[in-house]
């Protein structure tokens, strides 16, 4: 087997809650409690589960948005959990994140050009705006948007277009690993399909590895190579897409699959 690009062993992220009242006891919430998995180069692994299962915390811990309690996360052979913020900064180019809410994750005061240019200068990928604009136009084209949009602000775009811009901001850095946290959940069904196709195509063409975090089993089946089902901070079942969807072993996986409303029609994706 090829060497994994990301290898996580026994990852734990625990939170201390505020004491309830003056004399209340502090509680520890074990959001992520001993999670291990590998992602191979070019592979898409999905973390699927219901709210509160810890799937988002895994992604946030890997990008240093939360602090891990224990465990290891080897990225390109280096444990990224123990790095200082300064040591982690150059790696932020390689590990990028797509967020759920296209309305909250773009700075409303920056033009699209500024939004996409900023990471280029931070990571030294462009020396001046002329260079940056070439890269920005290329990347906008990649996500199906015209270069004319560069001078516009986020409020001028629909949810689907904003999510394309969010994806462009990630792709422009040519990362090695993309963590997508509910990347299509806020979109209308017809737009969700467009963006999902786009993510799948970009992933295939560029060979990026991806950790795809979602609660939607249909979306997960569509995008993943392998799937890990999380429940209460742990992975209860992990396997290839076909193992999970066609022959689920764990009772929780079966429960999840059977809870999805089905449409009986003669014309399924004809």
């Amino acid at each position: 087997m090829t060497e994994a690009i990301l290898s996580i062993r026994d990852l734990k992220t625990h939170f201390q809650t505020q004491a309830a009242g003056f004399l209340g006891e502090k509680k520890v919430i074990k959001a992520v409690d001993g999670v291990s998995f590998d992602i191979a180069p070019g592979e898409v692994l999905s973390l699927v589960g219901e709210s509160g299962c810890g799937k988002s915390t895994v992604g946030r811990t890997l990008t240093h948005l939360e602090k891990s309690t224990a465990g290891q996360a080897l990225f390109d052979g280096q444990d990224i959990l123990t790095l200082s913020p300064a040591q982690f900064r150059p790696l932020r180019r390689d590990i990028q994140m797509i967020f759920q809410d296209p309305f909250a994750s773009l700075n409303p005061r920056l033009t699209i050009e500024q939004t996409l240019g900023e990471p280029l200068f931070i990571h030294g990928l462009a020396k001046n705006w002329a260079e940056a604009r070439v890269l920005i136009a290329e990347t906008l084209d990649l996500v199906g948007m015209a270069p004319e949009v560069m001078t516009r602000h986020p409020h001028e775009f629909s949810g689907g277009q904003r999510q394309r811009i969010g994806i462009a901001r990630v792709m422009i850095l040519k990362p090695k690993l993309v963590i997508a946290d509910e990347a299509v959940s806020a979109l209308d069904v017809s737009i969700q399909a467009q963006v999902l196709n786009l993510i799948k195509k970009l992933q295939r063409d560029s060979g990026i590895s991806m950790l795809f975090i979602s609660h939607d089993l249909g979306v997960v089946r569509h995008i993943s190579d392998r799937v890990a089902v999380m429940y209460q901070g742990e992975i209860v079942e992990m396997g290839t897409k076909h193992e999970i969807f066609e022959n689920p072993q764990h009772a929780y996986t079966r429960k999840l699959l059977s809870a999805i409303p089905r449409i009986k029609t003669r014309q399924v994706n004809a």
């Binding site: 219901e50 709210s51 399909a193 979306v219 999840l256 809870a259 089905r262 029609t265 014309q267």
Partner: protein
Amino acid sequence: MALLEVENLHIAVSVGGVLQPVVRGISFTVDDNETLGIVGESGCGKSMTSLAIMGLLEGTPVRITDGSIRYDGTELLQLSSKQRRAIMGNRMAMIFQEPMTSLNPVYRIGDQIIESLRQHKSISKKAARARAIELLDLVRIPNPSERVDSFPHQMSGGQRQRVMIAMALSCDPKLLIADEPTTALDVTVQKEVLELMSDLQERTGTAIIIISHDLGVIAETCDKVSVMYRGKIVEAGTTENLFERLAHPYTRGLLNSIPVVDHDVEWLEAIPGRVPTLGEELSGCAFHPRCPIATGLCIAKTPGDTYIAGNHAVKCHYADQVAS
């Protein structure tokens, strides 16, 4: 005469003094013991329709510009707001999408149910409390006699949505409108809430309107379906007829956009383009810019209803072709 009859309803929102239409002449009926699903994407007018029926548009920039809404034969649009309030929450009730924001965080859930009971029925506090406990039991909240004193933050999302249902059911409404009742919930909880609603219907004969963006939810729970696009019902019929022969390119596109869990699809057949914005003027069929089979006719002429089977109505010039 059906319990609720909506006829040629037009709704517009006033933007800077100009009325922009959001609902453009829709008609449907719901009867006792029947569940109608209204499905569509954001901005199609489905939520505006439910707010109009409930009379919740007062004091907003949204106006009902034409049409009629009759409940049990009474024209609701001509009632005074006082007469209207006697029906709202009493004979028709609504469940909103966000159980977190539609419950008052500083009152115990029992007190909130009691308030709605005492608003409409002359019953003692003690009897109202007993009824509240009974309702919590009905929506399967464990230990209802203790949980009646819980605050909303002490309950899970699914439990809060069940409290909302309990509150909506408090006065035995004849009509229940549920606007995205399970969208904020996990799938396993969604299943429980939907089952609960259909159980309640079986027991009480309530008419239900479910408004949702999720075709799956609609297909599994409703007797009949209306698909909305840009303020119009573009396809309507019994759930069985409609899903047996989808006859509008939009409904088809919507279905093909959904990634399914039961088999593999390499690329989703997404609907191109985007959902039209409020002020955009579109001639003919409003779906034509996104439609794979649109012709000059679709740009020039607004399609009327074509009937496929029985009451399966489709607003598409090429409905017969799409259905076959």
